[in-house]
């Protein structure tokens, strides 16, 4: 086959794509399938699934709540707790972590203590926190603080450790002081890890908030009048026997958690525009 003939005879190869290969379409299909299976399983009273209220029932229970101020107040309370506890964890955890990363001596003194405190689950601290702190809110806040701080600190340390040595060398050779290096090399390089630590930390925080609200609001043996929040909402729905509301509460928390993660990711992109998209 001569080259001229060949170039005329070869058609362009173009891949065909059917609509079912589109990832978004597939996502929609899978979620719809999940909802349908849930609905059917619930109605047919299959084991386990049969006791879960069906999606349609859940939606029916949800609509009136949307106009109930108490429901939105629960949102506010949980979000407030998450926000304040997380902020406190960041304010203390980030500087602490940076100190541990930059000063060998400081790290050698504090890291072992950090490591023995870390395996204790945050919720195990609840009774001790209640004994120690004068108000309920403060004790919940303390537990939330604990939940987030370990993750944040670990990520800060990890991020600072993995800064390429050559950045320091380059800065030094251009005449930077220690403080300059800290501000212009260490801090920006650590920011992406801080963002990741926050993303993970916020998930833990929601877990802790929900559990703390359930425990102190009536779940378990610790009773108290203060409380509220979405975790409390779920628990009291359970006690009160309105099961569809349990699922409403769960989905609400899921949405709230997703929104807060999205906010953190967005903030992360704003603060660290150079970070690679994963």
């Amino acid at each position: 086959m001569s080259a001229a003939l060949a170039s005329v005879a070869q058609p362009r190869i173009r891949p065909r794509k059917s609509i079912f290969r589109n990832p978004l379409v597939r996502a929609v299909i899978s979620i719809c399938t999940f909802l349908v299976l849930w609905e059917l399983g619930s109605r047919m009273k299959l084991p386990w699934v049969g006791d879960v209220p069906a999606p349609t029932v859940v939606m029916k229970a949800w609509v009136p709540l949307l106009s109930d101020p108490g429901y939105w107040y629960s949102w506010y309370q949980s979000s407030r707790r998450v926000f304040t506890g997380f902020l406190a964890a960041m304010v203390i955890g980030i500087p602490f972590g940076l100190a541990m990363a930059t000063s060998r001596v400081f790290r050698d003194i504090t890291f072992p203590v950090f490591e023995i405190l870390r395996p204790v689950p945050p919720l195990a601290w609840v009774p001790a926190a209640i004994i120690f702190w004068p108000t309920q809110e403060l004790s919940i806040g303390f537990v939330i603080f604990l939940g987030a701080i370990f993750t944040i600190m670990l990520n800060v340390i990890g991020g600072a450790r993995s800064i390429d040595l050559r950045f320091f060398q380059a800065a030094r050779s251009m005449g930077s002081s220690n403080w300059d290096i800290f501000r212009r090399v260490v801090l920006p390089a650590v920011l992406p890890s801080i963002v990741v630590g926050c993303e993970v930390g916020i998930g833990i925080t929601w877990n802790v908030v929900v559990a703390a609200e359930m425990i102190s609001g009536g779940g378990g043996a610790i009773q108290s009048s203060a409380g509220g929040g979405l975790g409390f909402f779920i628990w009291s729905s359970y006690i009160g026997g309105s099961y569809p509301q349990i699922v409403v509460g769960m989905i609400s928390i899921g949405i709230a958690g997703y929104i807060s993660s999205a906010i953190i990711r967005w903030l992360g992109r704003v603060i660290t525009p150079w970070a690679r998209v994963r």
Partner: protein, 292 residues
């Protein structure tokens, strides 16, 4: 480095020798002594604040000395110490639940994660549901779990398994996706079928990430377990902590907390050691400062 490899005249360095070498180097650095300083500061402060000076709210908190005395007491005031059998019963109840949950979540989560990473079709159909359910905090499932599984034990194990499952599956998937694409390509060149690539390249390649995920999953399991036990359960360390608060046996609270910490740490370490053993190649690679 003659012959391009490190080793004694008898052969390669074994794992035990490596460990001894690292340990002796550690002893010679200031690190262990600073560690002692840290502990002294922490426990000293606690002791002084709660037992000696009884500052502010610290007064109602048991101090380290009180806790240790009670914990090691053959005849404990509140009935719970290293000498009482019911202490071990609580420990065992919690441990047993974690073991069940860990085994189930690993058996389900690792294959699930492997397929999520390996097959685009599978991932695009399954991951959306997974990701939609994930933002719901595991502990928010507590009441629903109690409703679904009427018994006492199953909800607790379900919650713990769920939390571990997420961590394991995600990390496994990440592991598969992080494998350098030249590895499966090389295997394909060498005549391996898709299934062989999966078995000989994907699984070993993802193993480091899988073990990281397993360590995380053990930690998460303890986290969820304690919470679940505090809310609904009988026996177990979470339950113990809770009921000691109710019965105003504050020292036992701390004994419970410390016990959870220790058992949790040991289980995590166990997973890590198992991982190091299974991945000798990686330990050596990292020790020589290499690796990609």
């Amino acid at each position: 480095m003659a012959n391009g490899k490190l080793g004694s005249s008898h052969g390669e360095i074994g794992a035990w020798e490596m460990f001894l070498y690292r340990f002796s180097r550690w002893l010679r650095s200031p690190t262990p002594y600073l560690m002692v300083v840290g502990f002294v500061l922490f426990f000293g402060a606690w002791y002084l604040l709660s037992e000696v000076f009884k500052v502010w709210r610290f007064a109602s908190l048991p101090g380290p000395h009180q806790v240790l005395v009670e914990w090691f007491n053959p005849n404990p005031v509140y009935g719970m110490s290293l000498y009482t059998p019911n202490y071990y019963m609580h420990v065992w109840m919690s441990l047993r639940r974690v073991i069940y949950a860990f085994v189930i979540s690993t058996a389900l989560g690792v294959p699930f994660g492997l397929f999520l990473g390996w097959s685009r079709n599978f991932r695009e159909f399954t991951f959306p549901v997974f990701e939609t359910l994930r933002p719901i905090p595991v502990l928010a499932w507590v009441p629903l779990a109690i409703v679904m599984f009427r018994s006492d034990e199953t909800p607790v194990i379900f919650l713990t398994t769920l939390a571990s499952f997420y961590a394991t599956a995600l990390n496994t998937m990440l592991g598969v996706q992080s494998i350098d694409e030249s590895f499966p390509r090389a295997a394909a060149c060498l005549g391996a079928s898709r299934w062989q690539v999966f078995r000989h390249v994907i699984i070993p390649g993802a193993l480091p990430y899988i073990f990281t995920g397993l360590q995380i999953s053990v930690g998460v399991a303890w986290f969820s377990l304690v919470a679940a036990e505090m809310v609904s359960g009988e026996y177990g360390l979470g339950y113990l902590i809770n009921s000691s608060y109710v019965n105003v046996q504050y020292v036992v609270i701390l004994i419970g907390m410390i016990s959870v910490g220790i058992v949790g740490y040991l289980s995590s370490a166990l997973v890590r050691i198992a991982g190091d053993y299974m991945m000798q190649w990686r330990v050596r690679e990292l020790a020589l400062g290499g690796g990609r």
